[in-house]
Amino acid sequence: MRAAVIVFPGSNCDRDVAVCLRQICNTQPIMVWHGEHTLPPCDLIVLPGGFSYGDYLRCGAMAANSPIMAEVVKAAKSGVATLGICNGFQMLTECGLLSGVLMRNQALHFVCRNVRLQVQQTDTPFTHLYEKDKEIVIPVAHNDGNYFADADTLQSLKDNGQIIFTYGEGDNPNGSQLDIAGVCDKSRRIVGMMPHPERRAEAALGGDDGLRLFAGLLEAVA
């Protein structure tokens, strides 16, 4: 699997996700600077977490306008698997690849902790190694992860099985509607999620619930 990680000024989980991808793919992913105008050929695009542009204005808004994002949108629409983690999820909604928006957390605080997640859909290249409805544990770390969409959008997400991760019962850290932690587009090849799978990818960091997502991608898209 050839993976490309897009690096924005202010990204800070780019290395973390690269470490995880290298472990899975046995090669270093391609790190692509936001100012580039071309995207190297790849099977997976990752928009990493962090504070692109300091999260100023709106999280992900300025990153979504970076030169490279036009290429990312094109590639994603042509079927290249695309994963937005945390700040990356915010970018995917900002550039319209995913519906909804991520508002300020209900408690108005940054929150960093492990959360329980339900894997709602296992028929995506991202989630096929998980067992449906079984709880996994993955950390979150964000200020703006409160998923919001209008009623029609929510209904269509439900109808099309696009809500792929939800927070476990009683463990919603941000006030997200329907406990949404991650969604995909209709093609099921573009995924945005607030939890950080790369932070739960080895025993020393508490387990490998996150690693399975990348392992699944390796099988599905390589």
Partner: protein, 82 residues
């Protein structure tokens, strides 16, 4: 030309910050507060003296980046230089 842009959440969109302000004001004893909403204020100095061009440019900025038009409305006010 100077401009002020108000960016506000569309009606019906969740406003956690506004809600929090409302609750905090009530807690401080400001019972008269019926509702509070929070938006953004962006002030821009533009090297452009024609109002029509300025307004069109600012509209572009809002559409492209300053506002997320899925959830936000924007309103541009121009101020003439003194």
């Amino acid at each position: 030309m100077k401009a002020t842009i108000h960016i506000t959440l569309k009606a019906g969109v969740l406003d956690p910050q506004g809600k929090a302000i409302e609750t905090a004001l009530h807690r401080l004893g400001f019972a008269q507060v019926i509702q509070a909403r929070q938006g953004k204020l962006i002030e821009i100095d533009l090297d452009e003296s024609d109002a029509t061009t300025a307004r069109a440019t600012l509209k572009d900025m809002c559409e492209q980046m300053l506002a997320n038009t899925v959830i936000e409305d924007y309103e541009i006010t121009l101020h003439n230089d003194k």
